[in-house]
């Protein structure tokens, strides 16, 4: 079985500046890989290469063994869940329509889509009557839960999360992190999670990849991270101490 995602010597240049350099990395099915790094380290770029929002300038990114450039670009995106900071929810859609977007695009029949929305509201811990509300009527934490539910809607094998909980208050954040870990564990999703928060990384990751100036500087299990000796890893450790 091919790896869920594989980066083969990937370089990505944006605006004339190399954002990712010669990244090689294999992500196995079912693991939660957290890409840790400061702003501009290339972590979001890595994420966007997986669902084809960006294309590699050198090397290849393989999803289920097929290069993202060989995938039908719409199919690839619909088969990968994507959650971003502040949700990126559609302000003019109800919560139900936001969550049920990919099923709608995939032309699921009404009852099946509606049942799926209800199921997902429960999964992410929101009351069923939220279905008829609009995003602006929800709190930040509730919106992020909707964002997660939307990403899960068509049951994708892979989830991409770009600092999804970054804008939340610490209490809500830790609550939603715990639930997220439970959901991902239960559903056996492969997830790639981007953050600049080492605590969050340690809490959620099965493996942490540390990106610095577009290079993968360190990769390993969360409990090994405190023993990492690279300068950037020490910088991150110092912040938590």
């Amino acid at each position: 079985m091919p790896a869920a995602v594989e980066f083969r010597n990937v370089t990505c240049v944006l605006g004339g500046r190399p954002i990712l350099r010669e990244l090689s990395l294999t992500i196995d099915a079912g693991e939660t890989l957290v890409l840790l790094g400061r702003s501009g380290s290339g972590k979001t770029t890595a994420l966007k290469l997986i669902n084809g929002l960006l294309r590699p300038d050198q090397g290849a990114v393989l999803v289920n063994g097929t290069s993202t450039t060989a995938w039908d670009s719409i199919r690839l995106k619909r088969s990968i869940g994507y959650v971003i900071q502040e949700g990126g929810l559609f302000p003019h859609f109800t919560i139900a329509r936001n969550i049920g977007l990919v099923p709608e695009l995939e032309r699921w029949d009404e009852p099946r889509a509606r049942a799926r929305v209800q199921e997902l509201l429960t999964t992410v811990g929101l009351p069923a009557d939220f279905a008829h509300r609009y995003p602006r009527q929800l709190s930040g934490g509730q919106r992020q839960r909707v964002g997660v539910a939307r990403a899960l809607a068509a049951d994708p094998a892979i989830l991409l999360l770009d600092e999804p909980f970054g804008a939340l208050d610490p209490v809500t954040r830790s609550e939603i992190q715990r639930q997220f870990a439970a959901i991902v564990g239960q559903l056996h999703k492969t997830s790639v999670f981007v953050t600049h928060d080492l605590r969050e990384a340690s809490r959620l990751a099965t493996r942490i990849g540390l990106l610095h100036n577009g290079r993968l500087e360190w990769i390993g299990q969360p409990d090994e991270f405190p023993h990492a000796t690279t300068e950037e890893a020490r910088a991150f450790l110092q912040c938590v101490e």
Binding site: N51, L53, K77, R78, G88, F90
Partner: protein, 202 residues
């Protein structure tokens, strides 16, 4: 006279509806196309801006000798009114679509929406209040501008006004100006209401 006021009001309304309809179709269609073509956008907007600066009487004069779209009568008047109504509609369509939150657009792309779906399901609905504001400005302006149609035999309420000016008859001028003003205020009210209905999410 009452009967004539009614007739000319209807004629005026017809002039306004036809020209606004054409301008809306042209402006919104062209506006959407231009959001996809950065290179042409500035050129077309400048062109529409220049056309709008031509004095209205002069524009009608220019149109008279032009075959097919020009001549004496309603056709020239409609062409001139379309030209004037185009800019606000075009500009607001472009602004409305381009000001959709980039995070929302990116998440639409990431969800696997095609360009057409993004346009239909996300960009147009979110830009609708802005597009509607452009339409409102265009229509209200057209109601006023349409009074000059009478100068080249285009009919409408301007008929009274030109006649009144020629014979220094204030009653005649008012017979044309008052219904036109009422029409403009009513249009402003109705279109403004629709605009607010379209933007409960802003």
């Amino acid at each position: 006279m009452t009967r004539q006021i009614l007739e000319l009001t209807i004629e005026h309304l017809l002039l306004v509806s036809v020209s606004s309809g054409i301008a809306a179709a042209l402006g919104i269609g062209l506006g959407i196309a231009l959001t996809r073509r950065v290179s042409l956008r500035q050129f077309v907007l400048s062109l529409a801006g220049i056309l709008q600066t031509i004095p209205s009487l002069a524009l009608l004069g220019f149109l008279i000798p032009i075959p097919l779209i020009g001549g004496i009568g309603q056709k020239s008047a409609i062409v001139a009114l379309v030209i004037y109504a185009l800019l606000p509609i075009l500009r607001n369509t472009i602004t409305g679509i381009l000001s959709v939150d980039p995070a929302v657009r990116e998440s639409a792309v990431a969800m696997g929406m095609t360009d057409r779906q993004i346009l239909r399901m996300v960009e147009i609905p979110l830009a609708a209040p802005t597009i509607m504001a452009g339409l409102r400005v265009a229509i209200v302006t057209t109601i006023g501008t349409a009074t000059i149609a009478a100068a080249i035999g285009g009919g409408g309420l301007g008929t009274f006004i030109f006649r009144g000016v020629a014979s220094v008859d204030t009653t005649q001028i008012l017979a044309g100006a008052v219904p036109a003003a009422i029409m403009a205020v009513a249009a402003e009210g109705v279109l403004g209401w629709i605009e607010r209905k379209l933007s409960p999410f802003a």
